[in-house]
């Protein structure tokens, strides 16, 4: 049995969308461990000065995602608070032999990411009213997308390691994985899928503070290969409800990609790099 809990403050204006994103994010922890969510409980903070219909929309978004995940929403708890917050506590099941850890990367593995990155930067641009409608919509859609299909596609394959990409940014999670397994991860920055226009916004300086914190954390472990600055910003960009990062044996990568494709996901899957024997630095950018 897997038990998880996650909740946060609104990242988009639309309450129904926020509910979906927060629920997708909370459910993701179960998928990242190789599990299947079964029961969910709402966690709600809501101010009494806001229209209760907004709360209804948030909960409706959450309930729809729980349903899409095939789990049951069994209730929840709410408290009064100045700022709205929403999330879930999720119970899921996984076979003990099939629990994904973030520590199992092996040299020769291929790294596959199931969602494009850049949501932190695009959300900052949205706040600055500089984001295009298209970019804002893509990001909301990707954040609200469930990692269910990615989890299902992976079920038939050997997964050496898996994590979901969240607040530490892609590089932060890569550092953790490399450290835990005693290997070096090579990331091919041009192969990573990015949200449309995220590069433009990053160059405009619309980079959230969390990205700099992640960068400072990752820097000592980084052979940055002199890649353009904007890639570092995006690779360190904190993600809300990001995708799954799989480390799979090279021989199985094509099969997993094939199965991911068959799932017709609404996010972009990319092969972002490979696992090498441990070198001077835990992360090598190319």
């Amino acid at each position: 049995m897997i038990q998880t809990l996650d909740f946060f403050t609104p990242v988009v204006d639309d309450p129904y969308m926020f509910g979906q994103i927060a629920a997708a994010n909370a459910l993701s922890d179960v998928y990242a461990m190789g599990g299947v969510p079964k029961v969910a409980l709402n966690i709600v903070c809501f101010p009494n000065c806001l229209d209760v219909e907004i709360l209804g929309e948030i909960l409706r978004g959450g309930a729809d995602k729980v349903k899409e995940a095939g789990a049951v929403l069994a209730g929840g708890h709410s408290v009064q608070d100045d700022e709205p917050k929403y999330g879930l506590s999720v119970t899921g099941f996984v076979h003990p032999d099939r629990i994904y850890k973030n520590s199992g990367c092996r040299s020769g593995d291929v790294l596959i990411l199931t969602k494009q990155i850049g949501s932190g930067v695009v959300n900052t641009a949205v706040k600055a009213q500089m984001a295009s409608e298209q970019a804002a919509m893509e990001t909301a859609r990707v954040m609200a997308s469930l990692n269910r299909k990615a989890g299902e596609a992976a079920a038939g394959h050997t997964i050496h390691a898996c994590t979901d990409v969240t607040g530490f940014g892609l590089l932060g999670h890569c550092v953790e994985m490399a450290k835990a397994a005693g290997v070096t991860l090579e990331i091919h920055v041009d192969d990573v899928a990015y949200m449309k226009e995220a590069k433009d916004y990053a160059r405009m300086g619309l980079v959230p503070a969390g990205a700099y914190r992640n960068r400072d954390f990752a820097d000592p472990f980084l052979d940055n290969g002199n890649v353009e600055e904007v890639y570092l910003d995006l690779l360190c960009d904190p993600q809300t409800s990001g995708g799954l990062l799989f480390s799979v044996p090279g021989s199985e990568a094509a099969g997993l990609l094939d199965d991911l494709r068959k799932m017709e996901m609404d996010t972009e899957v990319s092969v972002i790099g490979r696992v090498l024997e441990k070198q001077d630095k835990l992360i090598r950018l190319r």
């Binding site: 500089m130 409608e133 226009e197 405009m204």
Partner: protein, 210 residues
């Protein structure tokens, strides 16, 4: 020298303020930006450098930083105008662009295909709805059948006069007025020609067609 005080402003406000200042500068000069956190220093630096400016920064004290932005001679800084142009290439609809330059092009005195009478009613109602917009269009261009709307006896004349009073430039195709024999009857706005019409459409950030 422009001073931008962004103390106490959370990301991304300092970037927006600095961008605006660069637009005001619109040429060589200096801007100093005061901020209270390092993220703002890094983001302002990034934006200004990518706009072609020379940037240096210093820590003035606990929670106080100064970013110096220098725009040299002959350096073309990406201002809001050029920014807007480039953003529009990717279908941008942000507030700046919408406000930038919106035009309404009316090519008929009816709206949509179908019943003629209904088409007239819809067009009148469309033009009234334009008067109710929060952001009025910059210009309205009328040609072919649309020329019947800006002349005496037009059912939409009141609304169009109202728009003109509020600064909306109303232009009607001269050839069309001639063709329909309405030249003497133009009741609102000015007469225009094909060159101006093409230019107006080309320069528009957004064209609305009923």
């Amino acid at each position: 020298m422009i001073t931008v005080n962004a103390m106490g402003d959370a990301c991304p406000i300092p970037v927006i303020k600095t961008k605006k200042a660069l637009g005001e500068l619109n040429g060589p000069g200096q801007i100093e930006v005061l901020v209270d956190n390092e993220t703002a220093v890094r983001n302002v630096t990034k934006m200004a450098e990518n706009s072609g400016a020379e940037v240096s920064s210093e820590k003035l004290g606990e929670g106080k930083y100064r970013v110096n932005v220098k725009v040299g001679e002959g350096v073309s800084v990406e201002t809001e105008q050029t920014q807007r142009d480039s953003e529009n290439e990717c279908g941008c609809t942000d507030e700046m662009a919408v406000r930038g330059n919106t035009i309404v092009v009316v090519s008929s005195d009816k709206m949509g295909e179908g019943d003629e009478e209904l088409g007239h009613v819809l067009m009148k109602s469309f033009l009234f709805a334009v008067t109710q917009l929060d952001e009025l269009p910059d210009k309205m261009v009328f040609y072919n059948g649309g020329a019947r709307l800006t002349v005496e006896g037009s059912p939409a004349l009141e609304d169009l006069k109202n728009l003109a009073e509020q600064g909306v430039e109303i232009m009607t195709c001269g050839t069309c007025l001639d063709f329909y024999g309405l030249k003497e009857k133009l009741a609102v706005g000015t007469v225009t020609n094909m060159y101006s019409i093409v230019e107006t459409m080309q320069q528009a950030d957004r064209v609305i067609r009923p």
